[in-house]
Symmetry: C2
Subunit: 568 residues, 2 copies
């Protein structure tokens, strides 16, 4: 490709509305162009990157024996009514009426369509297992689309769906997909972690998310540096404390804490560390209000708490008015002593003695409080977020926390869809059985943004070579004025193209600084400069995108040496 015949469109400034660095750089590099809220055109340069990601995903899915097909983007409502999701998926689903006023949706995901195909096409256990996938444009009507293609409404997704005769077969394909995803993200050149995840709205019995690690990631991940353990913070288990609870050492006492409401205020006022202060939160349970107790320095984990018996999921908090009506004091003064509500305490409180808590009277706290003596032993459960330094649930060390961008998700769906749609097969005994399903998604377009979040510097994008728009740029200084430069650049270009290198020849009539800056901004990993001065010395100048300095290559051996560097 020659820049003169391509369509580069770089700029020095990014629109002010772009917050994330990947969004800014994708706009500045001309990878994408905004059409509307959450709607982006993939410009020629961006499409090259997107197609490289897509090709790696496709190759690895094919290698794993998955079979590609292509389902319609527009789906009749009836199928989603049959599964029940038409009414529960919510406003992210873009509903459509056709000219005959019939209901359709722009598919945000395709479980129903593929299950409909399976129930019509698969009769016998001999046709199982099978794993279908597609790479397709999807639409989710995000309430606040943002961050460019990171959270766009229209996006490119790889979605796969597997069908099985039994759970063991699902496990096998699930593991194969786990490995396939690991290979995909490795080939993409990304630092990533597979994390145990909550199954969320899609439902099912097991799930891993694949996160590209980046400080800007929306998801908090707990991981063990010494092992494979990683989990979304939503899911990571906080182990109960070891050892036993000290005996009470203080008498319970009510103290005035005028105007002190937050843990920090109370802790400072009383001179007691936050981990000795207990906070009480009132949530709505299935049979009325419930009090949740946490250590002052810990945060409630709503997902884990929501899964407890008797507690609603998703968890909802009682309003100030509801708290006041039930307890008779404002939320900042509540405490468990004498409280007429069911109490669930976080396990971190199990060994806590002589703690501080609200006195259920505005402006007062209790000190020297002890379970068993001043109030009944509560029910203990894991309802907090893990924090850095917590023991890893696999016993291999202490947890660290990092942030990630979710780019892949694998689910054991079980029979949620196959039961709803009656997708059955005859087993070896001729008995009708419900198919067991898995599903496996990759956000193809989001990967491009995630790769940039992970790889960038002050000069622009640092793409992994496998997905850079070009592998190598030949910057020809004076291509249009100096025949020797033109000849040398064209010869090198043709040699490297023949060596199957994805090379771009910058043959524009621009200042050297503009050409260098453009090739750096768009993230080309390797660069060679052909200049009049260099040629006089018989040399070309090579520089890797992250190299501090350039290396001179003898012109005669340049093609060979460059090829080696690019293919290294």
């Amino acid at each position: 490709m020659r820049t003169s015949r391509f369509f580069l469109s770089t700029s020095k400034e990014a629109p002010a509305e772009a917050e994330l660095v990947s969004h800014k750089l994708m706009l500045r590099a001309g990878l994408i162009k905004r059409l509307g809220s959450g709607l982006y055109t993939w410009m020629p340069l961006g499409l090259r990157v997107l197609r490289k990601v897509e090709a790696i995903v496709r190759e690895e899915m094919d290698r794993a024996g998955a079979i590609e097909l292509l389902m319609p983007a527009v789906i009749p409502a009836e199928l989603w009514q049959e599964s029940g999701r038409w009414d529960v998926f919510g406003p992210q689903m873009l509903k459509i009426k056709d000219r005959h006023e019939r209901d359709f949706l722009f598919g945000p995901t395709h479980e129903e369509v593929i299950t409909d195909i399976a129930r019509k096409e698969i009769r016998s256990y001999r046709q199982l297992p099978v794993n279908f996938y597609q790479i397709q444009t999807k639409f989710r009507d995000e309430i606040r689309p943002r961050f460019g293609v990171m959270r766009a409404r229209e996006f490119l997704m790889k979605d796969a769906y597997s069908f099985h005769a039994d759970a063991a077969s699902l496990d096998e394909t699930y593991c194969a997909m786990y490995d396939t995803y690991s290979r995909i993200f490795t080939r993409l050149g990304l630092k990533f972690r597979a994390v145990a995840a909550d199954t969320g709205a899609i439902g099912g019995s097991g799930s891993h998310e694949f996160h590209v690690l980046a400080d800007s990631g929306e998801d908090a991940i707990a991981f063990c540096p010494n092992s494979d353990y990683a989990a979304n913070v939503e899911m990571a288990e906080a182990l109960p404390p070891t050892g036993s609870r000290p005996a009470p050492g203080q008498a319970m006492q009510e103290v005035a804490t005028p105007g002190k409401h937050s843990i920090a205020e109370v802790s400072a006022f009383l001179g007691v560390p936050a981990d000795k202060v207990v906070k009480t939160l009132i949530v709505k349970g299935e049979k009325g209000l419930i009090a949740l107790l946490l250590r002052g320095d810990h945060a409630l984990n709503e997902v884990k708490a929501g899964k407890l018996t008797g507690v609603f999921s998703p968890l909802t908090f009682a309003s100030d008015a509801e708290v006041h009506a039930a307890v008779g004091c404002p939320p900042g003064s509540i405490g468990p002593v004498g409280l007429k509500l069911p109490i669930i305490a976080d396990r971190a409180l199990m060994n806590l003695a002589d703690f501080v808590c609200g006195a259920n009277a505005a402006g007062y706290h209790l000190t020297g409080v002890n379970f068993g003596r001043d109030l009944p032993e509560p029910m203990f459960a894991d309802i907090r977020n893990v924090v850095e330094g917590d023991p890893s649930p696999d016993g291999k060390g202490q947890l660290g926390l990092c942030r990630g961008i979710e780019v892949g998700h694998i689910f054991k769906l079980g029979t949620k869809y196959s039961e709803a749609l009656q997708a059955k097969f005859l087993d070896e005994q001729g008995k009708s059985q419900t198919m067991i399903m898995g599903c496996y998604g990759i956000g193809v377009s989001r990967i491009v943004a995630a790769a940039i979040e992970q790889g960038h510097d002050e000069r622009g994008i640092v793409f992994p070579p496998s997905i850079a728009p070009f592998e190598l740029a030949i910057v020809a200084l004076g291509y249009r004025k100096n025949p020797a430069v033109k000849e040398a650049a064209d010869a090198l270009y043709n040699q490297l193209k023949a060596a199957d290198i994805d090379v771009v020849l910058d043959d524009r009539d621009e200042r050297p600084g503009v050409m260098f800056a453009d090739m750096e901004l768009i993230g080309v990993p390797h660069r060679v400069v052909v200049s009049e001065r260099g040629l006089k010395e018989g040399q070309l100048e090579y520089q890797g995108r992250q190299d501090a300095t350039a290396t001179k290559l003898p012109q005669a051996e340049a093609a060979k040496q460059i090829e080696e560097r690019v293919k290294a």
Copy 2:
């Protein structure tokens, strides 16, 4: 690919609703699966064909210097309001409201989006010309979707849009696209014709359609067998007659023709050939009704007539009541003599003397009528469809008629969109000019159906080799029972794969008849049978999809000979 790990899904019967042979065969071969009205899943086998078509289209567009990008499928209404198409495109446009009740559409075509990009990205004549294209899922809400993917609602399209500084540059790209399309359809292995076409609703000043020739085609095409001339019958010019009009030989006479209304009836009753009977049609003009005269054996061409000054386009006919009110007789008895309406006569009537026409009185006709004597000379114009045997407008012989399936369309758009959206650039003199545009579409998914309409027999699909789902099938008889067959088939499979042949190994445990029938039904162009009997004789059996008989190949040379045949 091995059939045991693929997902073949053939059947002997096609659903009754499938009318076209391509629709029937695509369902029977398992290329597609219906999801809803005009909505089809491309099953794994069909997707292979679709991708091969797509790849050829992409390669040739790239070769022509067009630059690929990818625009969103969902388009904000504002852009279409700016061009004016939001209100005039009609119900084929699928309108969508998002969660905030804002208007969008599922793009049936992308002129507005690309023009919006051009007006933001292109500043100078130095950036022109440029030709962008995409291969994308589109949606047109057909009132009666039918014929499978031939006229589906959701379909895959290649659409390209070029921008130019002047008309000469547009002409150059238009010609290049004409050539590119010819190369594409040639590489696809299809018999096709480029035909001059009406520009229809998209607007513009020049246009060719590319038709795959097939008896089932919806479009009638007039062509000259001795030249490149071809035109949609809507557009084909009927040349005026040569020679001159004979002098009147008969006196005008009113004759009773009781109960005779149609041309056939009047012609038979009076013993006068149909080409001497003139029919009179009353249409609505801009200033009232207009009478159109045609030879009895000719048909009105509404497109050509609609383009005449004073006549509405699209042409509308007067109702029987309107005719009666204006003329005082039923439509079957109208004639031009004494008619108080403007009259336009088809040019075929220029040299007609002593003709028959309605007498403007129910049950009567006039014979021996002559222009200039019995009524004023009318205005003559080309308002009829050409018929087989008409002289070709290029003077190279007589026209023939055939039927075609439109699979491509190239347009000179001019400034329709660039003016509406104010897409301007600075020319060499620094003056602001409006960009000139062309657009170029190919119905990628429709090509698959068109290829089958053109290529099929009683056993199934006869795909051109370039787009067949597989180039070659190895049918291994007894693969699972006979180790010698397995070994020979695997070895051949690996050899041919290494030779870069797209080979499928049918390793199923099926009867030979089923395997042969499947490979024929799905249109694999080459087949080799590996059987125990053949191996004992040291031979494999080769047969081309359209060969009457099989050819025996010595096993040792089989791979080489097959490779030669496949690559021939």
